[in-house]
């Protein structure tokens, strides 16, 4: 039971930090003025054009595709894999499990491999390409190791040492309804959850904040209408 208490506390703390941290960042981004119009070509002339531009960036990583096919391939596989894995995980926190989550399960299994393939590819570049080696800090390596660790420990549960999914789910649902239940003590699970908690904590204070950040990037989210609409904000509004 003490294991459950420790992890329950960790989860609550990490969730709080994640939510508060990301919300705080989003508020800062939203409140900080963009005093001048600085969209980068090809800039759309309308708001819906901007929405389409951002959609292409988020879904297809369009700029990255134009920039570098290898980074794109690894990066995109990693992110799509990650998304599917996370959606597949929804089965631990929904009761009854939503139908589309059920339908997704078989794909989710392969998604873990796509995610890891992408992560290893990205990591390899940090050693093999001299330019990328130069710009890499220890934290960049650690971040990739963290995600790889999460992925491998997850796969460990799927293929090597199955954890008791039913009691795992009972524990998760218990957390959500503030009704503490015992957590199964599978070593892979303990590693998995420790790393996940770490990821949640560093998310708002690291480069992982790129996920919400992208939507606030003025070079990407501004409409190219400087001549038609007078834009003022911050120092230009004074």
């Amino acid at each position: 039971m003490s294991l459950s208490v420790i992890y329950a506390i960790l989860f609550y703390a990490a969730t709080l930090l994640l939510i508060v941290g990301v919300t705080r960042k989003i508020i800062i981004y939203a409140r900080t003025p963009a005093p001048l119009k600085i969209p980068t070509t090809p800039a759309p002339l309308t708001k819906s054009g901007v929405a389409w531009r951002l959609t292409k960036e988020v879904v297809f990583f369009r700029s990255l595709f134009n920039a570098n096919k290898w980074i794109w391939l690894f990066g995109w596989l990693f992110h799509v894999g990650l998304l599917l894995v996370l959606l597949r995980h929804l089965r631990y926190v929904t009761e009854p499990v939503w139908t589309w989550v059920v339908l997704l399960q078989p794909f989710g299994k392969y998604a873990a491999f796509a995610m890891l393939f992408g992560l290893f590819g990205l990591w390899a570049r940090r050693f093999l390409v001299d330019r990328i080696r130069y710009i890499t800090s220890p934290s960049d390596h650690l971040m990739l190791m963290l995600l790889i660790g999460i992925g491998l420990s997850g796969l460990g549960m799927t293929y090597i040492d199955h954890t008791d999914i039913v009691s795992m789910k009972t524990f998760m649902l218990g957390l959500m309804y503030f009704d503490l239940q015992p957590m199964p003590s599978n070593p892979f699970l303990i590693v998995h959850l420790s790393l996940v908690v770490t990821l949640m904590i560093i998310f708002p204070i690291s480069k992982l904040i790129h996920a919400p950040g992208l939507f606030f990037s003025p070079t990407r989210n501004q409409v190219d209408d400087a001549r038609d609409v007078r834009h003022v904000a911050g120092w230009t509004a004074k």
Binding site: I28, T40, T41, S63, R131, I135, P138, P218, R220
Partner: protein, 496 residues
Amino acid sequence: MADFEVPELKEYPVIPLIQEGSMAHSKPYVAKPEHQKSVGYPGELLDNWQEVAINKMGELVKGSRALQVFLDTCVKCGACTDKCHYFLGTADPKNMPVARQDLFRAVYRRYFTFAGKFFPKLVGAVDLTKEVLDQWYSYFHQCSQCRRCSVFCPYGIDTAEISMAAREILDSVGVGQKYCNEILGKVHVIGNNLGLPKRALVDTMEGLEEDIKDETGLDVRVPVDQKGADVLLITPSADFFAEPHIDGLIGYAKVFHQAGISWTVSSYASEAANFSMFIGSNDNLKKAAMRIRDAAYDLGVKRIVVGECGHAWRVAYSFWNTLIGPMDFLDKQYPMPSHIVEVTHDLIKRGALKIDKEANDHRRITFHDSCNVARGSRMGNIPGGQFILPREVIKSCANHFFDMAPETIHENTFCCGGGGGLLTDDLMELRIKGAAPRMQALKQVVDEHGVDTFVAICAICKTQFAKSLPYYDYSMDMITSLHQIVGDSLILGPTE
């Protein structure tokens, strides 16, 4: 010719292996106290510079969503690392856009983020030491703020914004760059980068009218301070005297003459360039732009047309409405401002100009998209108009046009190597090396299509290419103003 190695143009472009510190020696002359004061900055390095710099950094980031987002979100993916012409030309890894940003980001992290305050080594955060400040001075003056990196970054991170902020901080602690600040001081006092007073301007324009008369036998006017003219032309002052710029100015004069548009330049605002953008100075940006508004108002013109200048068009197109708008005294039926290429394009489309394309048959032409036009502005009313209009104008005036490789034109264009306030002789090595990717692309169309005419619509590009072409064994005469092509093909005289 040079005391440095000029990059060799290969068969195909290659990404160099990094050579650490290869450009660490490059730095422009530091502004003298009087230049610093003329643009409102302390004369020399302050005693408490570190404190001032960090406060300034905080203030800038608080006031700019771009900085806030860009400093946080870079994931070090490396997509931008081979996109900067200065990296490609010098192989110095600090000229990779992300590494350039990191000079700034490392300091930002140290003083403003949790990770940087408590785990500096882990995230590569550093204290702002004198050594770091010197690195800033060197490498933020190796960025032409061309925004090529921003096109390819998955978050649109624009290193230009970071360079501008870094230069503003350098200025605020007393170490500005001589070239930019001296010039800007002249704009504030005299009205143009050259410090050309009204008398000299009028003389030059009269001389120009005589030249055109000799060439064409017609009285084509180049008016100064003509009240009640329809158009105020705001053009880079290089157009008044430098080669090949001046032939462009003659071209504008011919177009206005033939279209029957009355126009004038202003001696009070005789400069399109606004170097305040290069040094990231908000106050100066607005102050220099304000002269243009005042001139337009005093002269009672109906519209403002901007001549061939890259960053000036960005400032005009993207910032004027914000800085000096709304300009209700202008005629609403014209876009405010218009680019001279928009004016000419429109006249050609309406059949208001008679053109003899054969007049340019001796030329085989390619077109260089200037960074600030390509990536920081637009022309016409369709996306990408800034690429379409100039090419349509050239093709309406000449028969032989050949574009350079697609990955080097339009929004992918390579900087000339001299933009962003770097067009100074004390940075010649950087300028020549930074021109390499553009020269590489030019070489291809020269080899394949016998191109001999290299057209640009930016005063900085023209000056820079006139300097850099000979280093790569091309003739400096290749560089040509777009409106020279137009002017040479115009059939002047009464229309039937």
